[in-house]
Amino acid sequence: MGVTVGVLVLLMLTIRALGLFDRLLQRRQSAALAGAVLETPAGPSIADETREASRGGEIVAVIAAALALSEDEESRASPGFSGLPSYERAAASAYPDAWAAAGRRQLMDRRGRPSR
């Protein structure tokens, strides 16, 4: 059990490292693009914007989920390997909304109609 946790913690750190590495590369690329004119804004402000957008974007998410419902018929018929929840199926909406949309779709799958 100890080894298991140890290995997965190391894997967790690796993923965090990958993420940092990726953001470093992205910042460099966008810096190269924007030249010296625009300094990319730092992390926290993005998070605030997102929370704002998340509330406003719920309507979009409901529509996206409703559209997704029609494709879900088949995945319900053959559960198991197929029908795995995926971001890609909610790609129409803004990204943070995708998480909500996936949840809503799941509810609708069960009840056969929008959740409210």
Binding site: M1, V3, T4, V5, G6, V7, L8, V9, L10, L11, M12, T14, I15, R16, L18, G19, D22, L25, Q26, G43, I46, A47, T50, R51, S54, S78, P79, G80, F81, S82, G83, L84, P85, S86, Y87, E88, Y95, P96, D97, A98, W99, A100, A101, A102, G103, R104, Q106, L107, R110, S115, R116
Partner: protein, 397 residues
């Protein structure tokens, strides 16, 4: 003379009437898969394999050593199961079908996925304990096979049970033939997740905890990270737990051909036609490991009891770990229910969490948060499998 042949079958049934019990079990699995739609992809082929192994003929299961021709299902056992061909191709297909983004967006999922593996070790110890009491007769090899049921992962269970059986056979260690029983137990409990987990979750969480909302991640995981993840994971786990390399390597390779985006025809075939062919044949082959004389043992009851126990412990461990993590990070708490999804049983366990969350608060969308530990549980169980493959043979010797 010709008509005599009609009695041959009945004579065989008289000699071993257990096969009729197996017809009933096979029929029950058919009913479960078809009428109840529980894990039909594997339960239907497995039930057919059970039927084939319990007809009054060994035409399909003969091992060919006695002069008669080798049966086709035995051919598959040797050439496609024992060499890991079919389980690894299933892993390849699963990798191509899985979107690891929920886990990558929230790396602490991996901790929850690790916690749920406690079920494996507890069930393993439980099996050994039950043997001491004398009720059942499980050695270390059987105990490992039973423990892995707690990983809630079908192909891994097949993989480990079969490896343990082979190890015993090749090294002259007495080993019961429980591959069929552990596999059926694993798939059965995976199908029963919506019944097993909710009471445990209710018992271990307060309503306030179940109502915890979790923020959505700020930005999507970049394509670069999604491509590098499978490559790096193969190396990291390959170095740390070399025996897990085949399982991890194939699921990660499958995921890479998916995320690379440049070989859609390979990703498509890997998760569809190739996996379908393998599922049909793997199900038949696993089912063929359950002739009545092998399956109808007292030990089978023990396997099913311990398997259920393993599922329950795994669920509880995931939840308790999540609650423990909240102690250290009270500002950004985890909804402890998503710890229960760490058992794997993808995506059933994550759906259970979402359903329970919605009952308390219709606007709490936890599904993708639960998918993180859910997928992490697959990696966790494959890691545990590698550890068992490393330790058990050393302990047995």
């Amino acid at each position: 003379m010709e008509f005599n042949s009609l009695w041959e079958g009945f004579t065989e049934i008289g000699d071993d009437p257990r096969i009729i019990v197996m017809w009933a079990i096979s029929g029950f699995l058919f009913y479960w898969g078809i009428a109840k739609k529980k894990e039909p992809l594997l339960l239907i082929p497995i039930a057919a394999g059970i039927l084939f192994a319990n007809l009054p003929t060994e035409a399909l299961t003969r091992d060919g050593g006695d002069g008669g021709d080798e049966g086709l299902l035995h051919f598959f056992q040797v050439n496609a199961l024992n060499n890991d061909l079919m389980p690894l191709l299933i892993f390849l297909g699963l990798g191509a079908a899985t979107d690891f983004e929920p886990m990558l967006a929230s790396p602490r999922s991996l901790l929850l996925g690790a916690g749920a593996q406690a079920g494996v070790f507890v069930a393993l110890l439980g099996a050994l304990l039950l043997s001491f009491t004398g009720v059942f007769d499980f050695g270390l090899l059987e105990a490992a096979s039973i423990g892995i049921i707690g990983g809630a992962d079908g192909p891994t269970t097949i993989f480990i049970s079969n490896k343990m059986r082979q190890f015993g056979l090749e090294n002259g260690i007495a080993v019961s033939d429980i591959v069929g029983a552990t596999t059926v137990a694993a798939y059965s409990y995976m199908a029963l997740v919506p019944i097993i987990q909710p009471p445990i979750i209710k018992l271990l969480t307060t309503q306030r905890e179940r109502r915890i909302r979790m923020p959505y991640p700020e930005r999507p995981v970049s394509r670069r990270v999604k491509i590098m993840f499978p490559i790096v994971t193969t190396i990291v786990i390959g170095v740390l737990v070399p025996q897990a390399a085949p399982l991890i390597g194939f699921i990660m390779f499958g995921n890479l051909i998916r995320e690379s985006g440049v070989v859609p025809r390979l990703a498509d075939t890997a998760q569809n036609e190739m996996m379908n062919i393998v599922i049909i044949l793997l199900g038949l082959t696993v089912g063929s490991l359950m002739p009545g004389r092998v399956f109808l043992q007292t030990e089978t009851i023990g396997i099913f009891l311990l398997g259920l126990f393993a599922f329950m412990v795994a669920t509880a461990a995931g939840i308790m770990l999540a609650k423990g993590m909240n102690l250290f990070n009270p500002k950004n708490p985890i909804n402890p229910m998503i710890g229960a999804a760490g058992v794997s049983a993808v995506p059933m366990a994550a759906r259970v969490v979402q359903d329970m969350a919605s009952k308390e608060d219709p606007d709490n969308f936890l599904l993708m948060h639960a998918m993180g530990p859910n997928i992490a549980g697959v990696i966790g169980t494959a890691t545990v499998a590698g550890i068992l493959l490393n330790i058990i043979p050393q302990l047995v010797k």
